[in-house]
């Protein structure tokens, strides 16, 4: 019995355990084409791996998992992971009037499932995303949306620490092309800003994402700076990390 086959068998058992019906081991054995003794051994392996298998003896009995739903292995790109965390954070605050009391547990469980190296990177990214107060009505009135061909490279440059070339249309509709370092992403609902070091002006600058007309990731790297490097520019706009 090759390890591959045994892993398959363990996973089939686990997915059957996830259903609402108690699993009768005699049936499982017949379905898997192994002996009942082997299924018992497999259950022991699952238990040793931390799967909390519960059992009821006697007529109408069987084995099952406590009532919960399991997410199996998922691969998300870096951008997807960023979106997931942002979505959870924003959903949490929008949901706040009906206690989304599980958000911490969800986030903790999801984070715990990443490797330690991934967790460090994700943690570092989270600290560079901030949420502020709702934007004023006048600001909201001029709001456009940020096309995918801008938001994707923006997110990539943000994640990888790369200088971004943007074409930017400012409040007077004047178009400039700049090279910027996106150090922070800032959300004043519903407006998104990139808080950057601007190579053109050699100063901190904050850009509205919906005013970016184009964006390209360059090969040039930058080292993310702490929020304290931008704080004095943001006076009057209290923000917090997500």
């Amino acid at each position: 019995m090759k390890t591959l086959d045994r892993i398959d068998r363990l996973e089939r058992l686990e997915s059957w355990l996830k259903s609402d019906e108690p699993l009768v081991l005699h049936d499982a054995a017949r379905e898997l084409g192994v002996s009942l003794r082997t299924v018992h051994r497999d259950l022991e392996v699952l238990r040793l791996r931390g799967i909390p298998v519960e059992a009821d003896r006697g007529r109408g009995g069987g084995v099952r998992l406590p009532s919960s739903w399991g997410i199996g292995r998922v691969r998300l790109t870096r951008a997807e992971t960023l979106d997931l965390l942002i979505g959870l954070a924003i959903g949490e605050s929008a949901h706040a009037t009906m206690q989304m009391g599980h958000a911490d547990a969800i986030r903790r469980k999801l984070l715990a499932s990443f490797s330690h190296a991934d967790q460090r990177q994700i943690g570092a990214l989270r600290r560079r995303i901030r949420v502020g107060p709702t934007a004023s009505g006048a600001m909201v009135g001029t709001l456009g949306s940020t096309p995918q061909q801008v938001s994707d490279p923006l997110k990539e440059a943000f994640i990888l620490g790369r200088v971004l070339t943007i074409r930017y249309k400012d409040g007077q509709a004047a178009m400039t092309s700049r090279q910027v370092e996106p150090h922070f992403l800032l959300h004043n609902p519903p407006i998104w800003y990139a808080v950057c070091w601007d190579h053109l002006r050699q100063q901190n600058r904050t850009f509205r994402c919906d005013r970016m007309q184009g964006a390209t990731v360059t090969e040039q790297s930058f080292t993310p700076r702490p929020w304290s490097a931008f704080e004095t520019d943001m006076v009057g706009n209290p923000t917090r990390e997500i």
Copy 2:
């Protein structure tokens, strides 16, 4: 070498592969305390299981995964799963001004990782949660929050299809105790409503969640009704599924 130990070793290898650095197999073998030949075999097992291991020969080479982050096995309770999906949906719409273009991919990947039975249940729950337009300022002005000891039993009754006993304070601060069937959850940002069949009035009734003072799940079941059973009561409030 027991299967348990081998599974651990495969998982360690996989988590190393997830890091940004190419993994040199000679180093991995030393770290794992096995031969290089065995590590090659383990890599073949990972490949056979669908992990897309890529390799670079020669100086500076090694093995790695394509750039993505993997979420390992996660167990979420039913309420946590509901919160996750709600959070993603609300986060997506709040995020819309900066294209959260990965939300579909994220949701698809997360859903695909549930067992088929779980997917059916989750899909059925999603169809019973609706989002409408932003609430008027007058409504928002009276908004309180829903305590955990109300929102938890409410969600449980909603998920399991159980009649809920609530203590409800209406707009005139009159307190009633009722038995209700929560068929739909409705979000007019930032207000949450439970769209119910009310046993007291023997009619459809919509209750603001922040006005519920207490909630207890009963043993009595109900069968969820389609939105068409409630639509005529909701005229003027266009909603969509999440």
